[in-house]
C-alpha cells in the first residue's frame, strides 16, 4: 500500500526534486490546495529554499492544520528552510515567527573564523556542497547510515545545536544538520539531492509512518 505524503507548497523554491525522490520511494505525493486536504495525508513534508520571510505565506489556517496533523501523531519532515521553520524564528526575518516546535532561533553562518595561527580565515557563504554528518545520539532518520556520511547542503542560515539535534555538521561553527522530537523531523541538507544517503533518510522517514 502506498502512503500519501502531503507536500506543502508555499512558493519557496521548486518542489520537483522532492516530489521525484518521494516518488522513487513509491510514496504518493499530494500538494494540497487547502489546509482541509491535510486531513487525509499520512505524513507531511515542508520543503523550501530561500529567505525565511517566505514562510510568512504559511497562514494561520495552514499552521492550525499542520498542528492538528502533528497532534494526531502524523510525522512531519522539514527540509532546509522547512527545518528552520520548526524553530522559534530566524534573524533572517525577525518579524516572522516559526512553528516553535524546537527551542531556539536560527542565525546566519559566520563569514569568517579565526584560523589555527590566529589569522582570520574567510568562509564562503552560502555553505554549498557535501559535508559530513555526526550523530550525537541514535535517531530514526539515520538508521543504517554511518557516522561521517556526507550529504548536500546549500544555505546561509542554520539552526542551533540543542537537545533536539539528531545530526551535527560543522561549517565555521557546529549547527544542527538534523533535528528530531517525537514525530517531528527536520533536515538542513537536501535528502532529495544527497544520493543514496539522502534516499535512505527519506526512506527512514516514510518508515516512521
Amino acid at each position: 500500500m502506498s502512503l500519501t505524503i502531503g507536500l506543502i507548497d508555499y512558493g519557496a523554491g521548486n518542489l520537483t526534486s522532492v516530489r521525484k525522490a518521494l516518488a522513487a520511494l513509491d510514496a504518493e505525493v499530494l500538494v494540497p490546495h487547502t489546509p482541509q486536504e491535510l486531513a487525509d495525508v499520512a505524513a507531511l513534508v515542508v520543503p523550501g529554499v530561500g529567505n525565511f520571510k517566505a514562510t510568512a505565506a504559511i497562514t494561520d489556517e495552514w499552521r492550525e492544520a499542520i498542528f492538528a496533523a502533528i497532534g494526531t501523531g502524523r510525522p512531519l519532515l522539514g527540509i532546509c528552510l522547512g527545518l528552520q521553520w520548526l524553530f522559534e524564528g530566524s534573524t533572517e526575518a525577525p518579524e516572522c515567527s516559526g512553528l516553535g516546535l524546537m527551542n531556539g532561533r536560527c542565525d546566519r553562518l559566520p563569514s569568517h573564523l579565526n584560523g589555527a595561527n590566529g589569522t582570520p580565515q574567510l568562509l564562503k557563504i552560502p555553505h554549498v556542497g557535501w559535508n559530513t554528518l555526526h550523530f550525537p545520539r541514535l535517531a530514526t532518520l539515520f538508521t543504517g547510515i554511518d557516522e561521517g556520511a556526507q550529504v548536500y547542503f546549500t544555505h546561509s542560515y542554520a539552526a542551533p545545536v540543542t537537545e533536539d539535534a539528531a545530526a551535527v555538521t560543522t561549517y565555521g561553527v557546529p549547527f544542527a544538520s538534523a533535528v528530531e522530537r517525537g514525530q517531528v523531523f527536520g533536515v538542513q541538507f537536501h535528502p532529495e539531492k544527497s544520493g543514496d544517503v539522502g534516499l535512505k533518510v527519506l526512506k527512514n522517514f516514510l518508515e516512521s509512518i
Binding site: 521548486n14 522513487a24 529554499v49 557563504i125 554549498v128 559535508n131 556526507q150 539531492k193
Partner: protein, 251 residues
Amino acid sequence: MLSKRVIACLDVRDGQVVKGIQFEGLRHAGDPAELAARYNREGIDEVVILDITATLEKRRTMAATVSAVARQIFIPLTVGGGIRSEEDAAAAVEAGADKVSINTAALQNPSLLTLLADRYGSQAVIVAIDAKRDGRGFGVFSHSGTRETGRDAVEWAREATDRGAGEILLTSIDRDGTRQGFHCEMTAAVSDAVPIPVIASGGAGGIDDFVKVFTEGHADAALAASIFHYAESSVRRLKATLRDNGIPVRL
C-alpha cells in the same frame, strides 16, 4: 568539513554528449542519461548539462534530455546553454534542474540574475563566465566564447554576485579542451574576490590538475567533461588521490 566538489559536465547537442576542442570540432561520447547514471555510481558530486550550441543556434535547452537525466540521479543537476529568459529557466527547472547556468543572457541583461534569484533562490542561479588572458587580467567573452565583451572577469564576477548569483562557473577559454590543466591563476583571482563558491572549468587533463586547482587555484569545485567520458580517469580514483593529497572529498 566541507568537501571539494568534482563535477561532470555533459556537453549535449541533439540529445547526444559531445566534447569540443576549444569549442570547435565535436566528437560523440554517449547517451546523457546513461553517462549521468555511470558518474553517479562512481561518486560524482554533481552533473551539469550544457547545451553547447544553444546560444549560437538560438535553440532552447532540451527538456527531454534534462528530464531523462533527472530521472537517473539524485544529486544536484545544473542546466545551462541558451537560457535567455525567465521562461527558459522555468522550463529547465520544471524538467528537473536544481540550478540554471546563465552566461550570455546575464551579460546582456544582468537583472535576469536578480529575477531568477528572487524566484528560485540564489542557490539555483549560477553565472557562467568564459574568460581569456588579456594583459594582466582576464577578459570575458560571450556567445560560446566567440565575442569579446570588454569586461574584466573579476569585476563581472563581483557584479554577478551582488545581483544574486549563488555560484560562479569559470571557464578558461585558453585552456578549454587542451588538457593542459585548469587556469589556476585566473581561478584564484576570481575565487579570492567573491564570497560565493567558484567552480573551475577548462583544461582538466589528469588527476594532478585537480589537486592543483583545489590548492593553488582556491577552487571550491572543479568541472570536467572528456576525461570522465572516455573512462581515462575514473571519478573514484580521482577522489582517492585528492584525499591522499589532504583535500577533503566525498568518497
